[in-house]
């Protein structure tokens, strides 16, 4: 079960997810301590393991810093549900075996604090707080192959 942290915002960028003043480290725990700091200073206090973020369009725009994915993962975030994702962030997430969900409906059907039961393979979000089901298109096969292998480097190592 995932608790939703809803941000009714478009263009949540990597500077907000992990400000560059913390990029002097790539330690996931240190990054996680500052996750979403410039957007929501209380985020790291609220977030629990397996929680998810729900947002609008263009999530993860800006810098190519993979530190954004590591900060979210390190803070316990299991997935991000957004209308659309910026492409480098999207790629970085897949390369780290981190699921993303693209959904036009989620932002309108999920409230902050709702409990979600997510099936990534069939493409179903059960909002157990409201009782509303939301379907989504699962990630494409090539992306699922990378995620199932545990990330890009594991995937190419396996391929030889």
């Amino acid at each position: 079960m995932s608790k939703a942290h809803v941000y009714k915002r478009d263009h949540i960028n990597t500077d907000e997810i992990i400000p560059a003043r913390y990029l002097n480290t790539d330690n996931e725990k240190e990054l996680a301590a500052h996750c979403m700091e410039d957007l929501d200073n209380d985020f790291v206090k609220k977030v629990q393991p397996d929680d998810c973020i729900v947002a609008g369009d263009d999530f993860g725009c800006g810098s190519s810093r993979e530190h954004a994915v590591w900060a979210l993962r390190g803070a316990g975030v299991k997935t991000v549900i957004a209308k659309t994702f910026a492409r480098i962030f999207y790629r970085n997430a897949i390369n780290n075996g981190f699921y993303l969900i693209e959904s036009d409906d989620a932002l309108g059907k999920i409230k902050d604090g709702d409990e979600l039961d997510i099936d990534f393979k069939s493409g179903l979000i059960k909002n157990t707080t409201s009782g509303i089901d939301i379907t989504f298109n699962p990630l494409p096969d090539f992306a699922l192959d990378i995620i199932n292998d545990g990330g890009l480097l594991e995937h190419i190592t396996k391929k030889g």
Partner: protein, 420 residues
């Protein structure tokens, strides 16, 4: 159906005769750009996986830039990891401090960018190199690790959007104003996953430096890449800069290539632009925000830290005094030396500016010019997100070097045409 220049480059890199938008391809990489923030994690990932090889030590270009010279102990450790790895693998083009510079200014200047090639880098502004009729795109650390080890990456061939730049730029209007106007029209995700192909007569009046400012900011519209076709101006720059490998392949878009959209701009009607906080798409003509008080002016970065940019700023600042903190950051050591030799430093010094070593520095809120709470900065950089150059309550206004220089004199956002 014909192919776009982007499709042709990716087809060649994938060993195919044709590709179309949406195809997934495994492309051979010609150049991997590595810097001090995103490559140290890539090196660690490779070591953890027991992958000790690099695909070609002559196709990897390394320069510390974001936090160089090291701003603190942690960034010094990043530099140490990069240095140890670059030496161990005998990376041929490793620009150590003294030769290191802001990557996207350094690589073209040092002759590492060739038309028709595929260039990737662990930095979102890697799209800059598309000004040379190349495919170039920003990647994260895991992709950087994969590219370093294998020399290949998967790509989805992007659909292309055509941007026709008509007319001639007016006095005091520059390529930075063009790209700010483009992004203001289409939005920060207006070109998401797409290739932005720039064409039109206004480009023939722009130097390679000016063109790089345009492709540099393709990412600010969400694009995978920005690209400009090859012409005599490209050739002349390459003739002057390419060193070791001087051959390259010139591709151009077919007349029946497919574009998902075409946007026309009349550059002769453009005004100097300022992108208001907190998105690069917040561009308005300078007249709409003139008079707004600033605390700092920043002239530098991979967008506008090249010699032409500093010449424009110097022309405006000559014989004047700045009213606010003004930072001049030459993007590379060569630009630094040329500025000094041309007497630009004297102009900046006399005007009361601070002249810095080449670094990405404050552009990304790293160091060397950080903003306090409530402060406002007019900046020639590329992003004005919340907290980008310092405190989350500071504000960044993006503009051309001319507008940033004119605003430095008055301490307020100022139309540069008043000083030209």
């Amino acid at each position: 159906m014909g192919m776009t220049i982007t499709e042709k480059i990716l087809a060649k890199a994938a060993g195919k005769d044709t590709v179309k938008a949406g195809d997934l391809v495994d492309a051979n990489i010609d150049v991997v750009m590595c810097h001090d923030v995103t490559t140290p994690p890539a090196i660690t990932m490779l070591a953890e996986k027991g992958i000790e090889k690099v695909f070609d030590p002559e196709k990897i270009v390394v320069t510390p830039d974001h936090f160089q010279p090291a701003k603190d102990i942690k960034s010094a450790e990043l530099h140490k990891r990069l240095d140890t790895w670059a030496k161990k693998h005998k990376i041929k083009y490793y620009y150590k401090i003294g030769k290191a510079g802001v990557c996207h200014a350094l690589l073209p200047e040092q002759g590492h960018i060739r038309p028709g090639e595929v260039i990737v880098g662990g930095d979102s502004h890697t799209c800059t190199y598309g000004a040379f009729a190349a495919f170039s795109t920003g990647i994260g650390s895991t992709d950087t690790a994969a590219a370093i080890a294998t020399g290949q990456l998967w790509f989805k061939v992007p659909a292309s959007m055509k941007f026709v730049l008509n007319g001639s730029l007016g006095h005091g209007v520059y390529s930075k104003d063009v790209i700010l106007a483009v992004i203001a029209r289409i939005g920060t995700d207006g070109a998401l996953y797409r290739a932005m192909e720039f064409v039109g007569p206004a480009l023939s009046e722009m130097s390679m430096e000016a063109r790089m400012t345009i492709t540099n900011m393709a990412i600010e519209a969400g694009a995978k890449s920005g690209i400009i076709g090859f012409d005599d101006i490209t050739k002349q720059y390459l003739d002057e800069h390419l060193k070791d490998k001087k051959d390259y392949t010139v591709f151009k878009s077919d007349s029946d290539a497919e574009y998902i959209t075409t946007e026309e701009f009349d550059c002769s009607k453009l005004e100097p632009m300022v992108a208001l906080p907190h998105l690069p798409s917040g561009g308005v003509p300078v007249g709409e925000c003139a008079g707004m008080e600033m605390d700092q002016s920043y002239i530098g970065s991979c967008t506008n830290g090249r010699i032409e940019d500093l010449r424009i700023a110097a022309k405006i600042l000559e014989g004047k005094q700045v009213a606010i903190r003004t930072l001049i950051v030459a993007a590379t050591p060569e630009i630094w030396k040329r500025s000094k030799d041309e007497g630009l430093f004297d102009i900046f010094y006399d005007a009361g500016c601070v002249i810095s070593a080449p670094t990405c520095g404050a552009c990304l809120g790293g160091f060397m010019g950080i903003l306090a709470s409530g402060e406002k900065c007019i900046s020639t950089t590329n992003r004005n997100f919340v907290g980008r150059m310092g405190d989350p309550k500071s504000e960044v206004y993006l503009a051309s070097p001319a507008t940033a220089a004119a605003s430095a004199i008055t301490g307020k956002i100022t139309d540069p045409r008043n000083y030209l």
